[in-house]
Symmetry: C2
Subunit: 217 residues, 2 copies
């Protein structure tokens, strides 16, 4: 099986999948899609044949392409069950997916490129940053309370799950938009723990082949 | 097992779960949460104990609450595997989840209440409707192409899946925002097929206990 990930170093959704691939020790190639260059390479007709939504990530598995980070991760979990990134019981798995979707449906889509471009165009750059910060903080307020109740060393107990693959990249976004973590001690603690984990280092934006050297430094 | 669904008749995310519950023939009670009344009952301190994100749906299973429609549906699939709402192979399941997430992360969050309220406040009602229409049409353009390649009688082949539970409520939203389906013949066809399905009739907004009688008529 040959896997190619269409990825942008800074895309939090791409990072989720890179983290899962790395945690499972799966080999893959990266095909970089620069969301900024040439007006956005994801908008090219060629790339829209890969991902109809003109977004990253997309995972090409042999001749089939899967898009949407969580569907890719569920697929990886099914074809490569060990190490598992989901807990043992149905109810526990539901809570992990809940964390993923609070981020993946409740936070990230509201601060993604297309929304921010719309606000910047209509209301200016300051309003754009204000909005991004607002939606992330609102989401983190909910997440913090949820994580107080279910986290151990990681988001859900003491094993790394999908939820961690979603949380760490969202924290990276949060920091880019000036959100400080003081009010979110559990989120901050989990971030500090995972910062040194090999899979999160390997999948970090700074360590991607398409990360410009001035950002890397 | 006692299940209570916190639901709003018109919420597309609630409808997804109502459809899944109905397709699986599971008994549940509805606890109505009116997103408009009293400035939004989902914002009450009591409800935020149920759903920290102050959104519907939420499914209470005995003493545990699960939020986020897709995590609830994956849970239902796990505890009640028949009739299955996912196809047989990992790759096929990935495609079904991809359709769900194109809607659940790529379309619906961009036209949900909080975003529309923000745009209405800052730019007026006309811009709000224009935005909602734009994001739904953009998503439907991608979905239509995807469905041409994978649909049969329903979104994915000839069995009803999670994808149908996501699509039908999103079409309902689309129509509310003035999107016409002429450009999306596959979406229109699937909608017409499912319109007469018992589970989609039972879970339809008009047939909910909290649907006002003037809307029902």
């Amino acid at each position: 099986m040959q896997m190619t990930l269409y990825s942008y170093f800074r895309s939090s959704c791409s990072w989720r999948v890179r983290a899962a691939l790395s945690l499972k020790g799966l080999d893959y190639e990266i095909e970089a899609v620069n969301l900024i260059k040439d007006g956005g390479q994801q908008l090219s007709e060629d790339y829209k044949k890969i991902n109809l939504m003109a977004q990253v990530p997309a995972l090409k598995v042999d001749d089939t392409v899967i898009t949407q980070s969580l569907s890719i991760m569920e697929y990886l979990e099914e074809i490569c069950p060990e190490p598992s990134l989901l807990p043992k019981t149905a109810l526990e798995r539901a809570k992990v997916r809940e964390i993923c979707l609070i981020i993946g449906s409740g936070i990230q889509p509201l601060q993604n490129l297309s929304v921010l471009q719309y606000i910047a165009k209509n209301e200016g750059n300051e309003k754009k940053l204000e909005w991004a910060k607002h939606v992330i903080e609102k989401g983190f307020e909910a997440l913090e309370k949820l994580l107080v109740s279910c986290s151990g060393k990681y988001c859900f107990g003491d094993s790394i799950t999908f939820a961690d693959c979603f949380l760490v990249p969202q924290i990276y976004n949060a920091k880019r938009f000036g959100v400080t973590l003081d009010r979110f001690p559990t989120i901050e603690r989990i971030d500090a723990t995972l910062k040194d984990h090999q899979a999160f280092i390997a999948s970090h934006p700074s360590n991607q082949p398409d990360c410009p050297s001035d950002i890397k430094a």
